[in-house]
Symmetry: D3
Subunit: 319 residues, 6 copies
C-alpha cells in the first residue's frame, strides 16, 4: 500500500514564514540547494527525496518579486521531475493580483498569466490568503483554497479587551470585509466615502457612521504606499475618533509607506507575515499566519475540511 | 492565394439581432437547419459551406438560457468539423457572468466553466458587451473584445437635446461607469448610497450629489428584477428630481420587472437588444447595438482596431 | 497516510435512482444545494466537504435534458474546486448517443462534444449502461465502464419460470445483443427483417426464425416513440406468437410512446430506471439497475474488477 | 500580404498514388529524403522548403503498416518544425479502423489512439475515403473530410453500358451503402442474409431480393481475406445470377485473398488504389481515386465546398 | 481505504527481460493477449484486471523496432481504458535517442516525438537506462528516472579480481562516463582521440594516457555496428595493451557488428540485456540489469528514493 | 481578403538591438508602454493596434535576466489578448540554455521550463542564434529557427584580408563549430585539449594541431567569465601563435570577464549584440546581427526559406 507523506519546502527567500510553519507542524523543512549564477540564472536542487510525497511549498519571499517567482517555477519543475506525488503552492500574497482585468485596451491580464505559468510548471493546488479579487480563483483550473486572516486580527483585539470600538472600511468596496470583521468584534461599522460626484472637484473624505469618541480600526486587504489609510486616519481623527488602528493582511509597504505611517495619527498598524518585514518598523506590528497555515496544510494533507477551522468559537477562517 | 471570406450565422433563437447585423453588414446569414427532437436533443446542420471562412456567430437568444447555450456549443462543433477557418462567438450578454467568484466555499465559478466549454468546443475569439465583471476576460485564453453600449445611450440623450441632466449611479460599485457616461453628456454625477453601517438596522437610500430640479438618468449594466433601480427612482423623486430615466445594457427582466417598472416613477427605461424583448412593454425602449456590432465585425474581419470605433466625435466604444 | 473515502452525490433531478443506490451501498448522499434563478441560471453548492474523496455523481434525471446536463457540468466544477479527489460520472443513459457520426456533411458529432465537455469540466471516469454505440467509449480519453442491463431482464424472466420462449431482435443490427440474451435464457433466436430491397416498394416486416406457439421477448437498447417495437409486436402476433414482451434498457418514451404501447399486443414492456418514469404507465414495468450500480461503484472504489460482477451463475454484467 | 502555397508530399512508400495526384494537380511532389537505419529507425528530411505552405501528405503505402505509420508521424514532425503553415494528412485507407470499439473488456480503441497520435504530431486536417465506421471522424478534434469512392465504381459500370443489373449488399449492415450505389445505377437491390437464428446451427446464406437472370454487383468497403464475398458470389451463382462482380474501396487482400478470388465465380473484382497493388492479379481491376483526390485537394486549398464535387451529373462524392 | 497494488506487464516481444524482473520481484507477470492480423495490425487485450493498480510495462523487445513501439502504445491505451491507476513505461534502451536534435534544417526531432506519443497514449512516468543524451529527459513533462548500468560492469570486473587495469573512453565525449567507471574500479583513465585537425587529412587514432602493459576496458553507452570500438581495440593493442575488453549498456549490434567483434582483438565484449540477444555470440557476454530494475520498480512503488540504490558500497546507480 | 502585416516590437530593455533591426527592415517599432510598480510588478500596454498582424518581439535585454523574462511573458499576454495574428519571439541568446539536462538527481531542466512558459503565454514560433544545445529546439512544440552568427565573424576576418590563420576550438566539444568556421576562412584547424586522464592530476592544456607562426582565432558560442578562453590564449602564445583573437556569439561577460580579457594576450575579442554591452570595453569588439535578423524576419514574414540566406557566396546562416 502506498503511503503519501508530507514534504514541507521553503521557496526562495521564504525561510522566515516556512520555518514558523514547520515548527507548528513539527515537520522539518526539506533541504533545498539554491544558487544564483553571476548572470542571474537561478539554480535549485532538492537535496532530499520527495518521491511520492505530498509537497507544500511556502512562497512568502523577501526581495525581488519577479526573480523569486521564476525561482518558484524552477523549484516546481525540479520537484515534479523528482516524482513529487502532488504539489501545493502556498502563496499567501498572490502576486500581480491587482492586474486581474483590462483597465484599458491592449493590457495584459497578468494574474491569469501567473495562474497559467504555475499550472504549466506542474502544480496541483494553490493556497492563498485574502485574495485581492475573488475572480482570481477562477483563473485556475486546479483547486484553490483562499483563507482569511481577518480572525487573526479579531483575536488580537479581543485579547486586548478593548471597549468602545468602531470598525472602519477605508472605501465602499471593502464594506463586506469590514462588516464580517465587525461581526467578530461585535462592533458597529463605519465607511470612509471618497465622494467624487462631479468631475472637476477634488475628492473629499466623508465618514458614514459614527466614530466620535470611539477607538477606530480600519480594515483592508493590502497596504502598499499607505497613502489612503493614512489619509483616512487623519479624517477619523478630525471626526473625533480616539485611538486609531489599521489592520491589513498584506503589508507590501512600498515607499514611502513607513515614513507616512510614522508621521500618522495611527496608534498601531497591524499586518501579517504573508510578506516578510525585513526590519521592525515604528508603529507596525506583525501578527503571524503561521499557525493557521500549519493547520490548513495538516487538514489538506489529511482530507479534512478547511471550513471547520476556527481561531475561536463561532468563526471560520475560510470563505 | 487563400481568401478568407466572412460567414455570418445566427445562433439558436437569435434571428432577431442577427438579422439586423446582417442588414448593416450587407452580408446574408448562412442557412442553418436546427431541429429539436422530442426528447429534447438539439440537432443542427449548416446548409451552406463555411469552409475556410471567418465565421461570426451571433448569440442573443430568446427562450431557455441553458438549452440555447447547448445549442450554441453543438453549432460550434458542426462548424469546426465543416472546416470553418476561424470562429468568433458574439455573445452580447455573457451568461452566468454573476457567478464569477466563490461567494461561499464549494461553489462553482460558472463564468469560468462557460469560458472553458466555449474554448473546448472550438472558438477562436469572443465578442461581448459591457461584461458584468472585467475579470471574465481573464477566464479566456483566446482573445476577447468587450464593447461598451454606453455611447448608444449617450447618443440617444444628446439627440433629445435635454438640458439640466444629472447622471446617477445606482450604487458605489457603478461609479466608474456612471462617470464615463456623465462625461459623454457633459453632466454632473450623483451616487445612490445604500448605507448599511450597522448590522441590525435596515438599509436606507441616500443620494450623494445634487439632483433637485434636474432630469436624472440612472445608468447600470444589467436590469434583472428591477427592484433596486425602481427603489432608486423613488428616492430620486423624493429628492426633487424631475424626469427620471434608466439606461442599462442588458435587459434580463426577470419577474416582476415589467410590473415594477410600469408602477414606477420612471419616464423611460432604456435597454439594448443584447437580450431580445418578446413584446413591447410599457415605458421600456430598446436601442439597438446592431450597427455597432456590424462595424466591430467588419473591423475584426479586416484587422482594423476596434479602439477607433466611435458613435460620435471624441468617444470610443471599446474599453 | 491518506484515506480516500467515497462520496455519493445525486445530480440535478436525479434523486430517485441516486437514493436507491445510496440505500444499496449504505452510503448516504452528500447534501447539495441546487437553485435556479429566474433567468434560468443554475446555482449549485456542495453543503458537505468532499475534500480528497472519490466522488460518484449519479446522473439519471427527469425533466429538461439540456438544462440537466448544464447543471451536471456546474456541479462537477463546484466539486473539482472543492478538492474532490476523483470524480466519476454515472450516466446510465448517455445523452446525444444517437448523434455519434455525421449522417450528412456539416453535421456535428454531438456525442463527442458531450465527452469533451465532461472531460473539460473535470471528470476522471465515466460509467454508462448499454451505450447505443460502442465507439462512444472512444470519444473519451478517460476510462469508461459500460455495464449491461441485459442480465437484469434475464433474471426477471428466469424467475417467472416461463417455458417455450423465443428471443427476438427487432432488426438485423441488434442480433448480437439478442443472441447474448437468448443464451442467458437458453432460448432460440428470431430476427425481424425490414426488407426494403427495391427503392420504390414499401417496407414489409419478415420474421426470420420460428415464433409460432412461443412466448416472444423483443430485446432492444432504447425505446423512444415505440413505433418499431409495436409494429414488430403486431407482426409477431400475426405469425402466431403467444405472449409478447419487450425489454429495453433505456425508456426514453417520447410521445406517443405510451399511447402506442397501451394499444399494442404487448403483455408487458420492461425498461430500467436509467431514465425515471414520472408516473406508472399501463403495461410498462420498471426493473431497477440500482443494485448493479451500487455493486459497480463499490468495486470501482475498492479496485476490484467489474468483469466478475454477476447477477446469477455464469453471467457477466460487463462487456 | 501572405500567400499560402500548396505543398504536395508523398508519405513513406506512397509514391504510386502521390505521383498520380501530382499529375492531376500539375503540382510537383516536394522532395523528401527517407532513410532507414540498420536497427530499423526511420529518418526523414524535407529537401525543399515548405515554410508557410499548406501541406498535403498522401499516405497510401505498400509494405509494413506500422512502420509506414511511424514514418508518417516522423514526417509530420519534420514538416511542423520546418514551419509548414498547415498540414493535411490524406489517408484513403484509415488504419486500425476496425478496432473502433471494445468488443471485450480491457481492449484498446486503437482507431482513437491513431487519431490522438496524428493530432499530437501536428496535423490540422484529415482526408479519408469510405471510413469503415463513421464514428472515427468523432475520434478527431480537427476537421475531417470523408470522401466516397462509390461514384467511381458507378461510372465504370455506366460506361460499360451494362443492362439488367442487380446491386447486392454482402450483409445487412451494408444495405445503406448498397442502396446509394443502386440509385446511381438505377438498379434494384438485393441483400445477402447470414441467417444464424439459433446458436447451434451453422450459418446459411439467403438472398433477399431477385437475382436470377441478372448481372450482380456486390458492393463493400473493405476486401480483406475475401472469404465472405467469394461465398456470396457462389450463393448468387446458385440462385441464377449471370455475370458476378464485386466492388470495394479498399483492397487489403490478406492471404489467401488472391487465391480465393482466382477460384471464384467472379468475372471481375474492382478496388481502388487507396491501397497499392504490388502486382497485377487475375480478375482484379484497380480504378484510381487520384483524380477525385486531386480535385478534393484543390477545393480544400481554395476553400471551395467538397459537397459540390461530382463525377457525373446528379451525384456527390462526399457524405 | 484504497490500496494500490503493483502490476508487472511484458510489452510486445519483451518476455525475456520481463520474466527475469518478475522473478526478482516475486510478482507474476499479468497475462496479456497479443495478436497480429494478417495486414499487420496489432491487437492486445489484458486478460487480467489492472484496475487501480500501479502498472509497470517492461519494453525491451526483439524484432521490428517500429512495430514493437506501436504495440507498446496500443498496450498503454488498453491499460488506460482498463482503469490502470498509474502507468510507468520501463524502456531501458530509448528508441530514436540519437535523433535528439536537428543536424540539418527540416529534420525531425524524433526523440521528442517519441516522448509526445508516449505521453499522449497515457503514461505517467518513464524509466530508462543510460540515455544517449540527458536532454531527452527534458523532452518529457512526466517524471523520468534514468538509471546507470555502469556499476553492473564495475561489479563484474571487481569480482574477477583483475589487477593492472586502465579504463578507456572511445572518444572525448565519453570522458565523463569513463571517469566515473574508473573511479569505481580505482583505475587510471585513457582517452582515444580521433584527431581530425585539418579537413583534408584522414583521421588517425591517438591514445591519451598510458595503456602499455595494462588490461584495457573500453566503456561506452551503445554498440551499434561496432566499427569504432573495434578500431579502438586495434589501436590499444598496437600501443601495448594486454587483454582488451569493451563494456556498453546497449548492444544494438547492427550488421556487421558480430562479424567485426569476432575478428577483433577483444577478449570479451560486455553488454546488458536492455536489448535482448537472440543467440549467444562469440566473445559477447550479457550481464543482466533485471535485478537493478526489480529494485528500482520496488522503490518507485513504495516511494523510496532511487538515489540510495547501490550494487556495492559507496556507489550509486542513479544519476 | 485578409492582409497580415508585420508588427515589430522591442521587448523590455531591448531597444538597442530592436532599433537596429527596425532600421534594416524599414519597419518602425510599435509603441509599447512599460512601467514597473514600486513593489516590482511590471506593467505593459501596447499603445498601437497589432490586430491580425504577424508580431515579432525582439528580446535582447540589458539588466535583470529574470525580470526581463517575466516582462516578456507579460508582453506576450498583452499582445495575444490584443488579437495579434501570430507571435514570434526572437531571443538571440536563449536564457537558461546551460540547464538543459539533469547533471544530478532532483535538478530542474530549466531550458524546457522556459520553453513551456513561452508556449503557454501564447507564442507561435521562436528564433534563436547559436543555441548552446541543439536539443533545446526539441523542448518546443512550435517551430523554431536557429540561426548561426559564425558567418558574421568569417566576413569580418575575410574583409581584414588576414593571411596565415589557424582556427582554434577551445575544447573537444566545439570541434564541429570550429571546423565549419575554418571552412569559411579556408584555414586549418587546431583543438585545445584539456587532458585530465587520471583523476588525481591537475589539468594541463595541450594543443592538437599546428599554431606556431600563425594568427589564431578561437571560436566559441558563449563567453561567460572568460576563464577558459584566456587560459587558451596564454597556451597558444606559449606555442608560438602570433596575433590571437576570440570570436563568440554570446558575450555574457560575468565578472571578472572584462578584467581577464584586458590582461590577456588577446588582440581582439569579438562578440555579437545578442546581449547588449552597456559600455565599450578594452579589446572587445561587437559585430551586429541586426542585418541578418532583419533578413530572417523578412523571410519568415514572406514565407521564403531561411536556408537560402547568405552573407557571402557559398555560405548559409542557418543550420
Amino acid at each position: 500500500m502506498k503511503e503519501r507523506k508530507l514534504s514541507l519546502i521553503a521557496s526562495l527567500n521564504s525561510q522566515e514564514l516556512a520555518a514558523k510553519v514547520s515548527e507548528h507542524l513539527t515537520v522539518p523543512l526539506k533541504k533545498i540547494d539554491v544558487e544564483q549564477f553571476k548572470n542571474g540564472e537561478i539554480y535549485v536542487k532538492a537535496e532530499e527525496s520527495v518521491r511520492g510525497t505530498e509537497v507544500f511549498i511556502i512562497h512568502a519571499p523577501t526581495g525581488n518579486l519577479n526573480e523569486n517567482f521564476i525561482g518558484l517555477l524552477v523549484l516546481i519543475d525540479a520537484l515534479k521531475r523528482a516524482s513529487a506525488g502532488d504539489i501545493t503552492v502556498v502563496m499567501p500574497y498572490f502576486i500581480y493580483s491587482r492586474q486581474d482585468k483590462q483597465a484599458a485596451v491592449r493590457e495584459p491580464i497578468t494574474a491569469r498569466l501567473v495562474a497559467n505559468l504555475l499550472e504549466t510548471s506542474g502544480i496541483n493546488r494553490m493556497v492563498t490568503f485574502d485574495l485581492h479579487s475573488g475572480a482570481i480563483q477562477g483563473f485556475f483550473n486546479v483547486a484553490t483554497d483562499n483563507i482569511s486572516a481577518i480572525p487573526v486580527f479579531a483575536k488580537y483585539f479581543i485579547e486586548k479587551s478593548m471597549d468602545n470600538i468602531v470598525v472602519v472600511s477605508p472605501d465602499a468596496g471593502g464594506t463586506k470585509r469590514a462588516r464580517s470583521f465587525a461581526q467578530l468584534l461585535n462592533a458597529p461599522l463605519a465607511v470612509i466615502d471618497k465622494r467624487r460626484t462631479s468631475h472637476n472637484v477634488a475628492t473629499a473624505l466623508h465618514v458614514l457612521g459614527d466614530v466620535e469618541g470611539k477607538h477606530a480600526i480600519i480594515i483592508d486587504d493590502i497596504i502598499d504606499t499607505a497613502g489612503s489609510i493614512v489619509e483616512a486616519a487623519r479624517c477619523l481623527k478630525e471626526k473625533g475618533a480616539l485611538d486609531i488602528y489599521a489592520a491589513a493582511t498584506h503589508g507590501v509597504f512600498s515607499e514611502p509607506a513607513f515614513e507616512r505611517i510614522k508621521g500618522s495619527p495611527f496608534k498601531e498598524v497591524l499586518v501579517t507575515d504573508s510578506l516578510p518585514l525585513s526590519h521592525s518598523q515604528e508603529k507596525i506590528r506583525v501578527l503571524s499566519i503561521a499557525q493557521i497555515l500549519a493547520e490548513a496544510i495538516d487538514r489538506i494533507h489529511s482530507n479534512e475540511p478547511l471550513s471547520d477551522m476556527s481561531l475561536f468559537k463561532g468563526t471560520t477562517l475560510f470563505g
